[in-house]
Each structure stands twice: as C-alpha cells, then as structure tokens.
Symmetry: C2
Subunit: 405 residues, 2 copies
C-alpha cells in the first residue's frame, strides 16, 4: 500500500508549483501592514525634509559663539522662537540667536545649534558658555534618505519600521500583496455551533475556529464558513467564496469511501483538484488544486482536527507565504532527545505531538497520538518527526522536532 | 552627567512594577484569539462526545466476523446506513452490519468497524474478508478528554489548537485577558498626514503608523490618534482614550527644555508619570506612569523615530505581555562577530542598527546611526548592543545582538 503514497516533500512541491502570487492591490498604510511591497517606494521628499535642530537650544552662527567659555560666556540677543512645525521662513541676522526646538526648521544663516544645557536659558538675551562648531546639533536635509531614492524596495515585507518609513516619505497608499484572505469552510452535517445544545451523533465545530486562528497566526486573514454536506451547496459556496478569497480551505468531506463526501464530489466535478494519499501520519488524505475562474487555490484538509492542524502547518502555511511572493520558510526544526519510546507506521512520516524542553534539549511524546485527539494537541508545543523508514524509536534517541508557533 | 542616568534594567523593572494585569472580559472565540485564558475551561461533554467510527466501513459485532478470511469472506446483510451527523439511536442486530461513515455514531451492539477496504463495498449484503477485533476503528467517547476535565487551564495563551479545543468542548464564550488595546498618540504641530502636501517646517507623521504596526506585530491591538501640541488638547485626549484603551503610548513632546512640550506638561500636572533619562542611546528621555481613574499605563516615548522604535522593543513590548499576565519574554539575543567598528557614548548602552547574517554569525553595523535615521532602521534586522562601559569596538570583536521581529 505504501507504494502509492506521495512523499511529503513531493506534495509540498506540487502545491507550491500550482500557486501564483496574488495580484497586487493599492492599500492604505495600516491595511498594508504585513503585506509585501510590489513596487519600489521612493521618498517624495528628502528625509529629513529640511535642515532642522536635533536638540532644544539656540540657533546661531558658529563664528559668533567661537569664543564662548564657561568663565566668559558669549551673550547674544534672542531674536525669536522657532517651535517645531513653524512654517515661517526666518533669517538669522549675524550676532543674534533664535530659540529653537527639536525638529524645528533651521533659520537661514544659522549653521549651528547650541544646546540649552550650554546656556543660561535666557529669553531676551542668552549667555552661551561653550562654542558650537559648524553643523553642531543640526540634522541636514536628506542625510537619511535623498528625495527620489528608493526607501523600501519591491519584495520587502512591511513591518513597523518599513510602514513608518513609507509614512515619513509621504506615502498614504502603497501597492502590496496584502495578507492573504483565506475562506475557511467546515463541512459535515454532524457539526453544531459551540454554544448550541448538542444532539447525540453531533459534535461542536472546532476545525473552522482552529483553521481561522492558524491562518491569522501565520499572518493571513481568515473568514469562517460552515456549509451543509451537499454537493450543490458546497459548489455554490465555493464559487461564491472563490470570488473574494485568495485561498479556500475546506476540512472534512474527503475520506476514501464515502458517497457522503460532498467536498470531494464537488471538487472532482467542478475544479482542477488532485486528491491523493501523502506518506504521513496524521494527514494522509490530502487534496489541493485551483477552483473557479480566478483559479483560486483550494486545500481540502482531512476532517480529523489533528490531521487538519498538521496539514495546515506543513502545506498551507508555506502557501500563504507563496501567495505573497515570498519564499516559503518552514517552521524551525531542531534535534532533541526522546524522553520516551515512540511508534510510527512503516512508509509514512509521523508528526507526533510532544512537549519540547528547548533548554534541556529533550522532547516528551504525549500519550494519545490518534488524529482526533485535539486535547493532546493543545498541550503540545512541538511535533516529533519520525521518518518513513522508522517504525519505533527508543527513549534517549535523537529525533527531529518541529517547534509549533 | 552619567551619574543621573537610570540603567536600562532598572527602568524596565520600574515600568513592569507599575503594570497590573488587565481585567478579564468574556469574549467570543474568534475575538479571544491571542488572549490569555483567566479561568480553567472544562469540557462540556466528553471528547469525543460518543463512540464513533474512525473510518468509513461497516459496523459489526466482532464475533460475527471472527472467521472472515480472504478466500472465505463472511457475508452479512447491511441493515442500514449511518452517515456522520445522523442523530438516530440505532441498534445493530446480531448477524447484521451497518454501513458507517467516519465520525458517525456507533450503533448500540456494534463493537468493531470493518474498514471498507476489507470488504466488497456491498450495499445490500457485504462480503468481509478480514476479521476486525473488538474496538477496531472505534473512537471511544471521552478517550481524548473526559466530561468536566479541564481542557485549557487558566493562564494559557490561546493559539489555534487551544481555540479549536475550546470550540470542540462546547465553549462559545471564554473569559480572557484579550490582546491589549493601545492608543497611540502622536503629538507635534509639525506633523502632517502622509498623502497631504508638505509645507516647509512640517514633516509627515510616521511614528503613529510605526508604533501602531509595532503593537500589532507584538500581538496587541492599536488605534492611531494625532493630537495638537497643546496642554488642554493633550489632557482631554488622554482622558478620553484612557477610558477605552489598555495602554497609552505617546511619542514626542518630551524633550528636556521645551515649553512647547505639551505631553510632558500635561502628564506632569495630571498623572502619576516619572520622566527620566535612561542610560541608553537612542531613547534616553523616557516617561512612564499611570493616567486617569483606571490608572491606565502610559508611555511617553521620545519623538525621534529610531528612539521610539528602540524604546518600544525594550519597554513597551514586555508591558504588552505583562498586561495579559504573562511573564515578559525579551527579544532573542545572540552573539555575533562585528563586521565593522562601532562607537558608543560612555555610560550609555547603545542599540545600533545592524544587519545580522545569522548563518555566518556576523553583524554589519549600518552607516547612519543618528536617532532620526529611520531609513537606516528600515534596512536593519538587528540591534547591536554596546555596553555602558564600552566606547569603541573593532571589527572582529564579538558583540551581543538583538534580533528584530
């Protein structure tokens, strides 16, 4: 049976090969956070935009204060005040000073700022007891970024510093591949909303909540949907959602033998989706393809919650990055010592739930490794990776461990 | 002068000592993502809620199929179908089978499920060619979580697996300390909205965008506000915002000598805020305290964008965690080899902008280390830490490096 299983890496490669980066859109800066810039953003003015004071003090001509000393201060009349934001074009006459605040426009003629700490803080006249060399406490226009220079290059993910810089350079709107919007679709007539009474045979829907949270944790946006397990309903819902979402994620409805598996039936008839068995546990039944006129990528994840979660981390997370045109970065992997024996089916790579003690370099495999045991998953901080060739590992052996986000 | 500077660690300790964890609120599961649970959440039903099939197949009595073999299948009548979500209470008569789907309620009397792959898939009668032992492919009620057991303990941050588990256990609403809401207040009459024309003496506001993005990147929520540099306006705005926000963050308006520094003036008169010089560069002038009847924490960060950014990472980020009752986790620090010489003022710890090559273990100090040089910050991925005692380090020396998020 293991001969018809697709290796994990091959499935990931196929999935990534089918994904095209999203079409860029123009967004306001706050909406663009976490997006990836798609065209170079140049400074619309030099940064700083004008010569300005780096400190609170007095704008002077340096030559006027060259002789200042603690015992023998230079006294200058204070010709005016320049607060930050003052838009007047002032000129400093020789032999005078102007009170100036941090960030305020340097008056024409001034070539140094004397920090207030070197003075008596006078308002009419100021006694200056230390010379300020030319350029002292002055930030020159363009000494950070010249006008027209590229501030943030195409392809850069927009974090706080980049967003701040784009604002400083005058950009209200930027063109980005934004955080991808995933439509998370839970199917299954057995699903009931948490908070509603539960009939025997029914379960509370958890996958749509878990997947939406996982998308957001991975930097995407998500909307939850629940759809009846019926061919026409599923097709109609996916058609509607594919028009607005960047990615469709279903869970459930794809098991191997069920005529009740509406997702599989729907996508087999109406989309370009491959269903296959991947050589892994949990998460063997996987489906991926594109749907609708926009060729929206669609994942059909298995319905068992642990299978869904592991599939998300292995396959969906990299696709969220690829949709933004970023190279996919796998979750951090390290080695650790097994604190207990583990088993794994031959020919399939196991991702067992464990608790990693990063400092000690030890990982405890949890009790309860069935793919429906979400309670156990919620206590794990790592996945223990047991290779396809291995069916058993003993306490004390070294093993690969994937840290969960 | 360095004698009156407060060490970085002492400032952080004072700041954290003044923060009380937020008052818990009850939220829907999606809103609660990223929050910290404040009371144990018990399962409202066992998980799984009922004995159910782990596979698509046939529910049987194991004793009826004990003799099945490939050459000599056991043939049983198929008495019915049990899809997932079926709420009927069925009983399996001895000598019969029921077609059953993954997740469907096991009929009374059945004690094993024969996978469809071991059968001819019959609908009226099914030929079974392999015996299924008692319990085969059955998930017993409660084998993940027993009813009433604590699924997620108080104090746990709610990631995707915890959110999924809370949903599975029936919780629509949970009590959490949610992601803190920060009101980011930019002050300064020099500020103009990006996208508006810029007069000489004015700059485009960048700090409010940068800080709001930094709060969100650190797991909080943020709203941007811009306030005129005027005592009454600032006090009124802070009073209003402190009623709804969990944290106030101002930038600008706190330099040492300015009568135009409305933030400092406002908070000196109306709040319990300490202004001090911290032994660091950039970011020396710091203010922290509490404001208003709710004693809302308030940071007054310096106005220079690099100072603001570094202050955020060192002081505000840990406070966001403390507000949720979490132990503050500093940004990851490692050692690297300096790829160029750096300078640092005596008595102050420098946080220089650099580009860390994590694999090579080298860090390049960037050109342009003034605290207004946001363009340089936006190209950095790390802060190079030069201790208070050190004024110069040479290429090739080992240095502490903080990775930026």
């Amino acid at each position: 049976m293991s001969t018809d299983l697709v290796p994990v890496e091959a499935h990931l490669a196929d999935v990534l090969a089918a994904v095209r980066p999203m079409i860029p859109v123009q967004l306001g800066l706050e909406e663009a956070e976490g997006g990836v810039l798609t065209e170079d953003a140049a400074a619309l003015c030099p940064l700083p935009p004008f010569d300005n004071s780096a400190m609170d003090g007095y704008a002077v001509r340096a030559s006027d204060v060259a002789a200042a000393a603690v015992g023998a201060p230079v006294v200058l009349p204070v010709a005016g005040q320049v607060p930050a934001g003052d838009t007047r074009t002032l000129t400093l006459a020789p032999g005078t000073s102007a009170r100036i605040m941090t960030g305020a426009l340097l008056p024409a003629g001034a070539d140094a700022v004397v920090p207030v700490e070197w003075t008596d803080g006078g308002t009419e006249r100021v006694a200056i007891s230390q010379p300020a060399p030319v350029g002292h406490a002055i930030r020159l226009s363009g000494d950070d970024v010249a006008e027209g220079d590229v501030m943030v290059a195409a392809g850069t993910p927009l974090g706080p510093a980049q967003i701040g810089l784009l604002a400083a350079g005058g950009h209200e709107l930027v063109r980005v591949r934004p955080r991808p919007l995933a439509a998370v679709v839970a199917t299954g007539d057995e699903l009931t909303d948490p908070g509603s009474p539960l009939k025997p045979g029914r379960i509370w829907d958890s996958n749509s909540y878990m997947l939406a949270a996982a998308v957001r944790q991975a930097g995407g946006r998500a909307r939850r949907h629940r759809v009846k397990d019926d061919l026409v309903t599923v097709v109609t819902a996916l058609e509607e959602l594919s028009a607005s979402a960047d990615l469709l994620i279903t869970s459930g409805g794809v098991s191997m033998g069920g005529e009740h598996d509406a997702v599989k039936a729907a996508l087999t008839g109406y989309a370009d989706v491959t269903f296959r068995k991947v050589a892994m546990q949990p998460g063997m039944p996987q489906g991926f393809g594109v749907f609708g006129p926009d060729r929206t990528p669609v994942f059909t994840l298995p319905g068992n919650p642990v299978s869904t979660f592991v599939s998300f981390q292995l396959f969906v997370r990299p696709v969220l990055q690829a949709l933004q045109g970023l190279p996919p970065v796998p979750l951090p992997t390290r080695q650790a010592i097994l604190a207990g024996a583990v088993r794994s089916p031959e020919g399939r790579r196991s991702f067992l739930r464990g608790v990693l003690d990063a400092e000690a370099g030890r990982v405890v495999p949890l009790i309860g490794q069935a793919s429906h045991q979400l309670g156990v998953l919620a206590r794990a901080n790592a996945l223990i990776v047991v290779t396809e060739q291995t069916v058993r590992m003993e306490e004390g052996e070294q093993v690969d461990v994937v840290s969960l986000p």
